[in-house]
Symmetry: none
Subunit: 490 residues, 2 copies
């Protein structure tokens, strides 16, 4: 290969890999020749080839430029999964919800954002713990981790669950996963794809998406005021139910004990053999129970079930809310009766959470840092919520707004009587840099493709997630909402 | 580019373009060296590389000949392949094997263990990087990460792949996963469960297990000396093939160019409609390519495919071997044609690798720490391997042992002529605290439940994974093996 070919290849590769940015100016032939210590003829030959193949283009009297190959490629090629690097904010909104109308990261206030408060994370404690672990590394640190996760972390979670949630879960029954969505996938592997799964309607759409992409059939089942409807579950021959009984998302409803008992007794019935494998199961997603602002945490379905000898509840929780969504650590508590299937069916997997992260979290929990952190965060979020609600109720929106919240969790519902359609409402807010989902966005399509069914005000009710909102932004955010919604009727 | 690489590229291009005819005899190393005015060592290095990739073949006492690649080339012409710039590598894979008969951690030497060398991990560098990230935390650190992973890390991997593996993969096409096994699950979600997947027999059993637990049908397909057999693939109506062409596990075989071309042309054929969805795919698992001890890394199926415009290869690699199995970071390079399905079907998942770990690895790669680390590890493992082989060959086992290895990867094959059955062989070794798998352990059950088929010596051949073996243990481990196997015949 001659020198000019070598140079040609190098430049082409750099264009392909993005080392040179689209439309970046290339050095002149002479400058590059001097820089590389080769003749101008060599550079000219390489440039000529690159131009004729279209990797570079030239503009008379201006010089040579890098072709934007991502744009000029056929449509299916090089479709970026996200915009190229320079966009600074990496904020992502939930993909399962309708796409925001503005580019990501551009919102003044994003009420779909489930980030946690950056300034409140105990970075220096975390750093200290990691330093300590890496200073005296244990051979465990680099070895493959068993499927269920590191024993130390499972012990800490076990003791935490007992003290804070009254859940009796020995470490053997605790499974560490890299996020709740992966836990669902694992459950489909353990329980089987031949079952019918049910999720709450309205509800968090991703749960159904994850179950389906894992090959399971999944039906949204309507809720009434007390929660998911047992009559529909019975009728549909459901075999597994996913619920958040203690703080439903997004309605915030708490399932009364009566309904919980109904579900438990459904789960303990002998199952008829029509299609589903034996056994009925309830997945209890306790995603934000740490943030109950008054009173003590409610009793879980899991403890009710264990106390009644039932043992049909799979309990789930996550550190996404208490630490941050980027931590990718969640866990399940399996009923005793599923342990054998778990290790038989999924025992060849290694735990997907890095050992270092598991060790750091175990240490963080052991030192009571975690409990202190939760108390701090609870206070912080309570104040944020109170300030936000006060700002809404103390301003121009007071006459047209109604807030519904359960003194729990990191979101509340805000019903706005503006006369706008749901679509218009969101568009008006978007113009002011405010992103929010409607309650109606969480209604699944009904059976047989019928349109979404939801009560009249779901289309004028916003779901306000405030954990990612900086407190300092509250007055301005509410001002913008007022401007968006009351400008026409001052 | 060094002289031998230049020579290698020239000859390879001449083979591809037909300047050298199929089965033409090449000049001897000495003759070519004299002719070109270079050293014999230079020619020898180029020839060795060409032979291991299959462009040339040698016949003992006759010389070197040009492989007939014509007959297996895909329709479209292969463009001459551009040279790679450099060499070195990284890689990993996590390999679970038949359960050890003793509890973990109780072995004096465990040749099934795929841990990496604890003492060699750059703990203090890693600690420094994490401290730096946590000292000036970015809001990105705590936010949900998009499905494909953090852009910065994907950029680093993209540039690494181009420099070290001649793989042109823009960051848009790189997907970060928490381990190869999760990547398989994601692929089943993208490609579909209705396809027939094929894995190599013998082979790493977990691959098939993971595909199956994700709901896909998977068949082990017999290998011949060149790799997985295309005739069986054709007959079974396979739609996706999983292969490790550059260093098969556990046989260590390198798939010659001819077979690679056959697979590529299979992948590019229009697919008949009998059962499978459209499109054929090859999953290329490049798990230990960084640890090729001589020559430069072999060319991937992925680059061959891209160069021929085929784009049917999904490339996979992992940091389990280069860093540690506990790091839980692997990645895939998707063909452009799969990007849309990827984001449509799995776009609602958050990346399951914690952001902190992704940021730390990106920083580690950016600072060239990673490349330095690989070079160190390569030297370390090469010496470990040499010491272990020397100890075996220099002791009592010398008369009854035969070692087969390809100067690559972190395992080799040790055939022992003891007269023991495979079961007895393992039991004898276990008594002395030595754990090892047989080559025959990697044979899948044949079709229709027929017993495993494997060549006669697979039952007396041990698969020796040495990366987790402390170098200081080598003499004693070999002594124990001698005691176990030669005590009766001193």
């Amino acid at each position: 290969m001659s020198l000019w070919e070598f140079l040609y290849t190098e430049i082409k590769n750099a264009v392909i890999s993005g080392v040179f940015s689209p439309d970046e100016k290339m050095p002149s032939k002479r400058a590059l020749a001097v820089h590389l210590g080769v003749s101008v003829i060599t550079v000219a030959a390489a440039y000529a080839q690159l131009i004729s193949e279209g990797w570079l283009y030239s503009i008379e009297r201006k010089g040579f430029f890098v072709t934007n190959i991502r744009e000029s490629m056929p449509e299916k090629n090089f479709r970026p999964i996200r915009p190229k690097k320079n966009s600074s904010g990496e904020k992502t909104s939930e993909r399962t919800e309708p796409k925001p109308t503005k580019p990501e990261g551009k919102w003044f206030a994003d009420f779909r954002d489930n980030s946690t408060a950056l300034g409140k994370f105990p970075f220096s404690q975390w750093s200290k713990i990691i330093r300590k672990i890496l200073r005296m590394p244990d051979s465990k640190l680099l070895s493959r981790c068993e499927t269920a996760g590191l024993w130390e972390l499972r012990e800490e979670i076990s003791s935490y669950l007992l003290r804070f949630r009254n859940i009796k879960a020995p470490p053997e029954r605790i499974i560490i996963c890299p996020g709740t969505e992966y836990a669902y996938g694992m459950l489909v592997q353990i329980l089987g794809r031949e079952r019918l799964y049910a999720v709450e309607n309205p509800g968090y759409r991703k749960t159904a998406d994850v179950l389906r992409i894992n090959g399971a059939e999944c039906r949204p089942v309507d809720m009434d005021q007390e929660g998911i409807r047992p009559d529909i579950i019975e009728k549909l021959n459901v075999s597994v139910i996913h619920v958040s009984p203690l703080h439903h998302y997004p309605t915030g409803r708490v399932m009364p004990v009566k309904r919980r008992m109904e579900l438990l007794s459904w789960s303990m019935e002998k199952t008829p053999a029509n299609g589903n494998p034996p056994g009925r199961w309830i997945i209890e997603d306790d995603y934000d129970s740490e943030f109950r602002f008054t009173g003590k945490p409610l009793e879980t379905l899991q403890s009710l079930s264990e106390d009644s000898g039932g043992n049909r509840v799979i309990y789930m929780n996550t550190f996404s809310k208490t630490l941050a969504p980027s931590f990718r650590i969640s866990y399940m508590v399996l009923p005793e009766s599923l342990l054998e299937d778990f290790s038989k069916k999924t025992g060849f997997f290694a735990c997907a959470v890095p050992n270092l992260d598991q060790m750091a979290l175990a240490e963080f929990m052991k030192n009571k840092n975690f409990e202190t952190h939760i108390i701090r965060m609870k206070n912080y979020y309570r104040t944020t919520r109170n300030n936000l609600i006060a700002a809404i109720e103390g301003g121009k929106l007071s006459g047209i707004s109604h807030i519904k919240e359960e003194d729990a969790g990191l979101h509340f519902l805000l019903t706005l009587d503006t006369g706008f359609s749901g679509k218009k409402l969101k568009a008006k807010l978007a113009e002011e840099g405010i992103n929010a989902a409607l309650l109606s966005d969480y209604f699944h399509k009904g059976e047989q493709g019928k349109p979404d069914r939801f009560p009249g005000d779901a289309d004028k009710t916003l779901v306000i997630n405030y954990s990612g909102l900086g407190r300092e932004k509250i007055p301005a955010a509410v001002k913008r909402m007022e401007r968006a919604l009351t400008a026409c009727c001052p």
